[in-house]
Symmetry: C2
Subunit: 249 residues, 2 copies
């Protein structure tokens, strides 16, 4: 009755539901559980995994939220259609993390990196005091050697001391923030707009001025509603599209 009991480790500090979700994701990504595969009934699977049904349901619901499983009352739990696109509209991950997860081959160039007192518009969005400094970062991302994304980030240095020495060619920004602040990023907001390219970004993306691109305005928060980073992003949506998977509640 405990056929799968080896897949979870009850002394691992990682929560059981999270271990189970990882295990299921693995089964699905390796096609051991294919599209439309029906999972064992919750009660059975819980027994096989040697956990309670509640814990199993918590694992399942996280995969439902990601669009990987679906449940139909009275029928069962099934593997959903494979997802193709970028989960960027869905979950707070950085571009680098997103591209790594998709196995996209990309390169990051850091164009500027300096600690400055930012311009008024940034100061206002960030609620900064007059002389508070931020790390300003201007980067460009290339996919297949073609420039696709321009990013400008402003990070509160007083919350992440030492972050100004990071090699951002190698380390995703979110990882650096979590490391140097000693806190977890908890959430963020992203606002989507369409804009015509201005000269500076047009040059960087090697496209004509006025070309429509996706423009994102992002604010990232640590726990307790502390904003730690804001950024502006210009993105060629013909090369890198953003898809949201949305539940209806």
């Amino acid at each position: 009755m405990k056929e799968y009991s080896n897949v979870i480790n009850k002394s691992d500090p990682k929560p059981l539901y999270s271990q189970i979700a990882d295990w299921m994701s693995e089964k699905i990504s390796t096609k051991e559980w294919e599209k439309n595969h029906q999972l064992p009934a919750e009660e059975d699977l819980a027994k096989q995994l040697d956990v309670s049904r509640g814990t199993l349901r918590k694992a399942i619901s996280s995969l439902i939220k990601e669009g990987i499983l679906i449940q139909i009352q009275g029928k069962g739990t099934f593997v959903a259609e494979p997802k193709v696109s970028h989960p960027f509209g869905q979950e707070l991950i950085s571009f680098a993390e997103s591209m790594e997860r998709e196995g996209i081959n990309f390169e990051t160039k850091v164009l500027e990196k300096q600690v400055i007192v930012p311009k008024a518009s940034v100061k206002k969005k960030f609620s900064l005091t007059d002389n508070q400094k931020v790390l300003y970062l201007k980067r460009i991302r290339l996919i297949d050697n073609e420039p696709v994304i321009v990013l400008e980030n402003y990070i509160k240095v007083d919350l992440c001391q030492g972050i100004e020495y990071v090699k951002f060619e190698q380390m995703p920004l979110f990882e650096a923030i979590e490391k140097f602040s000693g806190q977890k990023i908890s959430f963020g907001t992203r606002q989507f707009e369409a804009r015509g390219l201005e000269e500076e970004q047009a040059m960087l993306l090697s496209m004509p001025i006025g070309t429509p691109v996706l423009y994102l305005d992002q604010i990232t928060y640590l726990d307790e509603l502390i904003p730690v980073e804001i950024s502006q992003v210009w993105l060629r949506s013909d090369k890198y599209s953003i898809t949201s998977y949305l539940q209806r509640d």
Copy 2:
């Protein structure tokens, strides 16, 4: 100990956690619970509501997912910053539903409504058989008498018989689909792009050809992965912006 026990009705078919979530949303939107207000401890509040702690936690987590509450281990549960923007990148709601929720005054004009065999590109996305018909709908939305959104929808009529007689000036599309299919919409995908306006949409939005607008490509599914509607949307992001609130897991 059951000070709040009148706020939930145990004989109402609506789940308790959902009633509790509604009640909390109400408390917050009426400012009875203001920003940064700390809620009673889960154990206390559960007793006051006369429900189990698990049920209360389920209500709380739905509000956390919406960005309305935050929880910090060891400290408590708090009301988050008030949200300003549209939850459109977040939850599968239609534009009409979104605008109604925000109290935006808008008007819908139906430009075309006919049952057709669609063009090949739509047929392919929808996996239609050769002569399968869809309801084609072309609409425009005005906010403050200004055209802001152009929508083209294709709805599988065989799943929603009778929907072709709906007055779409009055009824949100999603409501009509759920009514005439007799099923619930379960989820959808939206892909975001930036595009320059082409002549037809430019005319409808009264803006110059080539103006950058947000373009959305949407697929909506009933239970069991049945696609029921696909649509294309052009949207003036200077007038109606889309914001996602994103959790980091």
